[in-house]
Symmetry: C2
Subunit: 241 residues, 2 copies
């Protein structure tokens, strides 16, 4: 009962989601393939998933430059979907199918270690998302996939997409901690570098299947990040949790 000083050190683990926690490429391809099969359409589903994802950074840039108003990722995904549908010859997909397909980003499947590893890490740390996915997307995904977050934090709350500094600092402010009490866990070096520049700790997770089997891992410099791990159980092991 005697007041204790606040525990210094690491308190919050903030996770990038698309690619780091869930297999967006495999999940989007699977749903696309199934829908096209049901509608009698041919599709290279992995190529379609890649095209959809490739439209994402340029679409966020259009918002940053003021060419588009602020919008949720659901809306950006839909803009991109409507752009690539003609490229893949899917014009016959009707509005309900397009809405349903756009929702596949709410239903992405976790990597095999994600739920177990997060459950272990949650015993010691506050675990949260820090994703460009909108708040409802991340909430629905967690419920669907059984991801045991302590809270949902989305770039939507800050009206800034990662890697804008407002997202990393906004999360620290929301949780009332100093940036160095937060560690970003991500499979993308650009995200980690931006977090590090704002004073957050960083853990790089190798996700060799994110871009499909046989694709190269991103280049990371030795010692660039505080931790480099193979998956979330490895992170729990290395943090001795």
């Amino acid at each position: 009962m005697v007041p204790e000083p606040r525990q210094a050190g690491l308190n919050i683990l903030a996770f990038d989601v698309f690619g780091t926690v869930v297999d967006w490429r495999g999940s989007v391809a699977r749903e696309t393939r199934e829908l096209c099969l049901a509608r009698g359409l041919n599709i290279n589903a992995e190529k379609f998933a890649d095209a959809w994802r490739n439209g994402y950074a340029p679409a966020m840039d259009r918002v940053r430059k003021g060419l588009l108003p602020w919008m949720k990722i659901d809306q950006l995904h839909r803009l991109i979907l409507d752009e690539i549908i003609p490229e893949f010859g899917l014009e016959s997909l009707l509005e309900p199918d397009r809405q349903y397909l756009n929702g596949c980003w709410h239903r992405l499947a976790p990597w095999p270690d994600s739920v177990d590893g997060l459950t272990r890490l949650k015993r010691r740390f506050t675990i949260t998302t820090l994703s460009n996915g909108n708040f409802s997307l991340l909430t629905n995904m967690a419920k669907n996939a059984g991801l045991p977050w302590d809270c949902i934090v989305s770039a939507e709350l800050f009206k800034h997409y990662k890697p804008d500094p407002e997202t990393y600092l906004g999360l620290a402010n929301l949780l009332d901690v100093n940036p160095e009490e937060v560690m970003l866990v991500a499979s993308h070096p650009s995200d980690l570098r931006a977090a590090k520049a704002q004073g957050l700790k960083t853990a790089y997770v190798r996700r060799p299947l994110e871009m499909g089997e046989g694709s190269p891992l991103p280049e990371v410099f030795s010692g660039e990040f505080d931790w480099a791990v193979d998956d979330f159980n490895d992170l729990a092991d290395q943090l001795k949790k």
Copy 2:
């Protein structure tokens, strides 16, 4: 795999927290009593808890009127604490004790039915907070008390306190649902009336011990709210979950 239309009806249960989910009065009184005992101070701990809570609505009003800048409830709680400390003869409490005591609002204990009832309701609904408590307070409280929220929503996200309409509508917007797909669950009629005015469904929870044993329940008109329940298990029963 064939697209299904979105399920109409009720999808989100949003819970008021102080008094509805947790016993703020009993918890604040207990921590205050223990701290004062350790410091050799006499205290009427329940009266102290009431005085602290009674400062809360006027403090929010000062923010609404622009007499104070927007601030987190942690900061409002601290302002009120410093105001009532002389009234209770606690001037000898030093800064670390005051900080610690202010944090007691992060450590409030749930009512006996809260965790079980929420766990049942979570199977069917997305369950979230909708509280004036700041985001970190609600996150810490959930971790401490084992409250199984799907997500944390705080008035802090909207820079408006309940019962301002921005809070109820902001939650619906964040979760991408229509107001009528959300039900506010609360033990305070004023909160429920404000939610109803914005189109939300409402469930009134009787919490006869919120203000201490023997205190009267607030006045509620017959049929005023969609549901009236004795606790969260009763709500789950009545919703047949």
